[in-house]
């Protein structure tokens, strides 16, 4: 799939992998390649924001149609303390991913691995709490989307609409957290092989950017859904 990269011939194999990264052959130098990768990631993040914008617009449109019901449903069905704890978990994970990048910048390989590991644990905690403390009880009680709503004691006439937006927005966000876990695991594997160092940590930075976006989306979802 790739043709032989002529620049690969001249590297010193005694250096660790992060010091002998060779840019792809269509790039003039490593700096251009790194900058381009980051620009590409920022553009991808813009597309993710627009994707979630659909959920926020649906929320806005439906809340305007059924205002009182909406706010009451938020208090009735959601426990803000679980949401708040999950928010702290994600904020911590964003901090640790930045520490991992700092580790790469200062060539402390252990720091990279430890912080990525903590990030992964935080992501898992987020998902487990969501599934165990929120999704599972809701499923059991029938607090489901739209026409599947079967909870015996609704507090308003349009509870199912609020829950529809809650379920699809948080499920899509949760899917992005899950994808993030795979991507962080990949970064951990690359860090284990010594691919990140002061001269080269582009993909680690991009993983970090993606993770920050996942965090930021939750920062908006949390108050809109839990603190309405």
């Amino acid at each position: 799939m790739t043709t032989a990269n002529p620049r690969a011939a001249a590297i010193d194999m005694d250096l660790p992998p992060h010091a002998r990264h060779v840019p792809q052959s269509h790039w003039r130098n490593h700096h251009d390649e790194a900058e381009a990768a980051k620009l590409g990631m920022w553009l991808f993040l813009a597309t993710e924001v627009l994707l979630f914008a659909g959920f926020f617009c649906a929320y806005a449109g439906l809340r305007l149609l059924h205002e009182g019901n909406w706010i009451a449903a938020s208090h009735y069905y959601l426990d803000w303390r679980i949401g708040a704890f999950n928010t702290c978990v994600l904020l911590l994970s964003s901090f640790t991913v930045v520490l991992a990048i700092r580790g790469a910048q200062t060539n402390r390989q252990g720091m990279i691995l430890l912080n990525l590991f903590i990030t992964e644990i935080c992501a898992a905690t987020f998902l487990v709490l969501k599934l165990w403390l929120e999704y599972w009880p809701k499923w059991q009680k029938g607090e489901l989307v739209g026409a599947f709503f079967s909870y015996g004691n609704p507090q308003g006439t349009h509870d199912h609409l609020f829950l529809s937006v809650y379920w699809i927005a948080t499920a899509t966000h949760g899917f992005h957290v899950l994808v993030g876990m795979f991507v962080i695991a990949w970064a951990m594997w690359k860090a284990w092989k010594g691919h990140y160092g002061p001269k080269h940590y582009t993909s680690l930075e991009n993983v970090g950017l993606y993770w920050h976006l996942v965090d930021v989306i939750w920062i908006f979802l949390f108050p809109l859904l839990y603190l309405a």
Binding site: M1, T2, T3, A4, P6, Q24, S25, H26, D32, E35, A36, L39, G40, L43, F44, A46, T47, E48, L50, L51, F52, A53, G54, F55, C57, A58, G61, L62, L65, H66, V145, G146, A147, F148, T157, H158, H160, L161, S164, V165, W167, I168, T172
Partner: protein, 579 residues
């Protein structure tokens, strides 16, 4: 830079399976561009067949009078069964839906950017490839997957909803497979987004040193503006289609009035993407027209910066006008705002048309197929553009909404605009891509058939529309018969034209004469490469010595740019060091 392959990118490998593998898993933007090219052309013919079937159905006012046997066969193909209550109307619905879905998502959105953009954007910038070649291949795989899902959906009966998938019909109908068609569009959308990201980064980061933004060819500006829209707008159709599928499968109720939702919300979501999408369709065509006119009139483009900035302005304003698709569903206040903004978007568009015409003034106009299509673009796109304001005007739109006037308008801009530009571009860059020339006489005959046929088909539809013929109706009152028959006849002329274009291209590949490096005398970088280009495009990174349209300053009087030599190789070697 040593170690480059100096063979053509089309050269086969040692064994046939190595050749196949080298195409299936290529990261060469040229090969990927060619694969997209074959697919979009195939999609165009598929969508065209549906169009011919639609026009055939409209030959007569009611179904029973149309050719009986054909209807039966088509009916069986699309799961028609009168015993089950699936009548000719349902089959007709599927045909225009599939025409729309295939043409919009499989053909026109990817058409110029994914095929010619992929091929020529890096070369025009002096680069060896796009910014993310492997992502490019992934985009291609996504396109193929989306195409397979679309064909699968087609075989499952397609959909009856129109390509716009309006709720509540799209969320409640059980006929055909709305989920399959919508999933196909979702996957194709991701292909579009990733291509957009690739192009934006390529333009920012892979220009040859010395090439500033205003030294780029206008085709590149057009690709850039298109890519911005692709990146920002396409995710919105993604979420819209996702919500539609959730509504169908999980009955979430956000578009269902019975559950407290709002069906017009879907229309807002849908058009928030689909209006910018039409600018994804036309901007590349406009970029092509800038190239065609400059080269074939051998004249500096009039108002380069105006055209460049207009492309960006069109991209920006395109996000503000989606409401003009739902004038009949909105409040008066919203209508007024959207109507005013829609008039605004016409301004940069018109600036471009004036500039192209001004470029042609006192120029040395070559008459060949690319130039004929460029001129056809100017004439037909202008008609399309001028029939937009009657739709943007609230008072007249109340009468024209959902009539054939709308159908004629958008076919004039999409086909009379984008498709004509696409075919002109194909002829213009054919010798470069394949190293073979096509037969100009037969191509011009095909051009005449296509352009005349197109106008016969669609000009009559303006009259049908103003007289009240609704769109998406399989039957009509007998008073409309003559106009419909003329329109159907026109569709056969278009078909004849394309059935000549295709063999002209195939013949050129098989037995056409070898093409020169620069058959038209262009000054942009692609004309400095071999025909066809080598694998890495350039043996040494090109040095920029003049602007893309400097016909008046670079080429001495009475000197033919076709014979214009490559830049001084000694200069190139000195700049890059002796490699």
């Amino acid at each position: 830079m040593s170690g480059h392959h100096d063979v053509s990118y089309l050269a086969p490998k040692e064994t046939w399976w190595k050749t196949v593998y080298s195409w299936m898993f290529t990261i060469d933007h040229k090969k990927i561009g060619l694969m997209y090219l074959t697919s979009v052309i195939a999609a165009f013919f598929l969508g065209g067949i549906f169009a011919l079937l639609v026009r055939l159905e409209l030959w007569a006012p009611t179904q029973t009078e149309t050719v009986g046997e054909t209807s039966r066969v088509i009916g069986q193909l699309f799961h028609g069964d009168p015993a089950k209550g699936i009548t000719g109307n349902n089959i007709y619905n599927r045909m225009f839906t599939l025409h729309g879905v295939v043409m919009v998502f499989l053909f026109i959105i990817p058409s110029i950017p994914a095929s010619l953009g992929n091929f020529f954007l890096p070369i025009m910038l002096g680069a060896k490839d796009v910014a993310f070649p492997r992502l490019n291949l992934f985009s291609w795989f996504l396109y193929v997957t989306g195409g397979i899902v679309a064909v699968a959906g087609l075989l499952l009966g397609g959909a009856e909803t129109g390509w716009t998938f309006y709720t509540p019909y799209s969320t409640t109908t059980s006929w055909g497979s709305v989920t399959a068609m919508v999933s196909a569009a979702f996957i194709l959308g991701f292909s579009s987004i990733l291509t957009g990201i690739n192009f934006v980064v390529t333009v920012h980061k892979l220009r040859v040193p010395g090439m500033g933004w205003f030294d780029m060819p206008l085709f590149v500006w057009a690709m850039y503006a298109t890519a911005i829209i692709q990146v920002l707008a396409t995710p919105v159709i993604g979420i819209t289609l996702l919500l539609l599928v959730f509504e169908r499968i999980f009955k979430i109720g956000i578009f269902d009035p019975g559950l407290g939702g709002d069906p017009v919300l879907f229309q807002h979501f849908f058009w928030f993407y689909s209006h910018p999408a039409v600018y994804i369709m036309i901007l590349p065509g406009m970029g092509v027209v800038s190239e065609l006119i400059a080269v074939h009139c051998r004249k500096r483009i009039f108002g380069y910066r105006a055209i460049a900035f207009s492309s960006i302005a069109i991209a920006a304003i395109s996000f503000l006008v989606w409401g003009h698709h739902l004038f009949t569903s909105e409040t008066a206040a919203a209508n007024i705002v959207f109507s005013a903004l829609t008039f605004l978007v016409a301004v940069p568009t018109a600036i471009k048309v004036f500039n192209w015409v001004a470029t042609m003034y006192k120029a040395s106009i070559a008459i060949n197929t690319p130039m004929l299509y460029a001129m056809a673009f100017l004439f037909n796109f202008t008609i399309g553009g001028l029939t937009g304001p009657p739709l943007a005007t609230l008072a007249t739109d109340m009468h024209l909404h959902d009539t054939y006037f709308v159908v004629a308008h958008f076919h004039y801009v999409m086909m009379g605009g984008t498709v004509f530009a696409f075919i002109g571009a194909l002829h213009h860059w054919w010798p470069k891509m394949f190293g073979k020339m096509y037969n100009e006489k037969w191509a011009m005959l095909a051009t005449a058939l296509v352009v005349i046929g197109f106008n016969v088909t669609f000009f009559t539809q303006f009259f049908l529309g103003t007289q009240g013929m609704p769109r998406r109706y399989a039957t009509y009152v007998p008073e409309f018969t003559t106009l419909h028959r003329i329109s159907t006849f026109g569709s056969w002329l278009i078909a004849a034209g394309f059935l000549i274009h295709l063999p002209v291209f195939i013949h050129s590949l098989v037995a056409g004469p070898r093409a020169a490096r620069n058959p038209w005398g262009g000054l942009t970088f692609e004309w400095e490469t071999d025909s066809p280009p080598i694998e890495h495009n350039f043996p040494h990174e090109p040095v920029i010595t003049h602007g893309p349209y400097d016909f008046d300053t670079v080429v001495p009087p009475n000197c033919d740019p076709k014979e214009w030599p490559l830049p001084d190789q000694e200069l190139v070697k000195r700049v890059h060091g002796a490699h």
